[in-house]
């Protein structure tokens, strides 16, 4: 059984990075995108299941969500997935301590060698891939909806 510590800051504790580095802000963004994707996904289950009632019901459902607000929302979900997925992959690599170029988890003693020299390049690689995917998704979005 894990020892549980008191969370004196409550929800505010999630949002205040203060002296922590970029990883802390990625952590907050990871949670926000996770919650966003989950909210969308719960509704998505019901919308996509409507295909079992045939073409008419499906096309009716698609027409109901064929509005700019939903389309922008869909793009936001794509954006959230790109970030959440790649940041999640980074977290898996760090957490499981693969001996590739990342190094195993170690005591956070200053000057945080592992974090700065090995983990941060991984962070930049993941975020660059994320930006490339978001740009591709953006081009696709513009092509489909002729904005």
């Amino acid at each position: 059984m894990f020892k549980r510590y008191k969370n004196y800051l409550g929800i505010a504790g999630w949002g205040v990075g203060r002296r922590w580095g970029i990883e802390r802000y990625l952590y907050i963004l990871h949670r926000i995108t996770g919650l966003g994707i989950l909210s969308y996904f719960l509704l998505h289950i019901f919308v996509t299941t409507s295909r079992i009632f045939g073409e008419e019901v499906w096309e009716f459902m698609m027409r109901s969500v064929d509005k700019p607000i939903f389309k922008i929302g869909e793009f936001m979900v794509f954006l959230a997935f790109c970030f959440h997925g790649l940041n999640g992959l980074r977290l898996i690599f760090i957490e499981l301590g693969f001996k590739l170029a990342i190094g195993e988890a170690e005591e956070p003693v200053y000057p945080y060698k592992t974090s700065l020299n090995k983990q941060r390049p991984l962070l930049f690689v993941c975020m660059v891939i994320c930006i490339v995917l978001v740009i591709l998704g953006g081009i696709n979005f513009i092509r489909v909806f002729h904005f």
């Binding site: 549980r4 919650l35 989950l38 499906w58 096309e59 997935f81 790109c82 997925g85 957490e95 696709n140």
Partner: protein
């Protein structure tokens, strides 16, 4: 020990989703650029396209696996956030039970969509 097991499956589901949801996103959101798995017509969400994918056993299996993995990963993540708020023990238990029930119901709805579609239209 049980918490470690839950957490391990959270990571496994995340890893599985990276590929399956990645494929889903490529089909749905990079359709104009890559155009993969568009069997009938230009609109990726046209019923003909959705039906042609849903009729394939491979896609049906992917959808069922994806629904299960996504629900587990998402609900476990939300549960972890809620448990961080230092709530009283009975509330922990309520959240655990509530999330299991919600997850199972949504999984049945999502998986039924894929299975019933194949039975009805396949």
């Amino acid at each position: 020990m049980r918490e470690t097991k839950y957490w391990f499956w959270h990571i496994v589901c995340g890893f599985v989703m990276l590929f399956l949801l990645g494929l889903h996103m490529i089909i749905m959101h990079l359709d104009e650029i890559l155009g993969v798995f568009k069997f009938a017509g230009e609109r990726v969400l046209a019923f003909e396209n959705v039906a042609s994918r849903s009729k394939m056993i491979g896609f049906a299996c992917i959808y069922v696996l994806l629904v299960g993995a996504a629900l587990y990963h998402g609900l476990y993540g939300l549960r972890s956030m809620l448990l961080e708020l230092s709530m009283i023990k009975p509330l922990h238990r309520l959240i655990n039970i509530g999330f299991w029930i919600l997850g199972v119901i949504l999984f049945i709805v999502g998986a039924a969509g894929s299975i019933i579609f194949i039975i009805r239209f396949g």
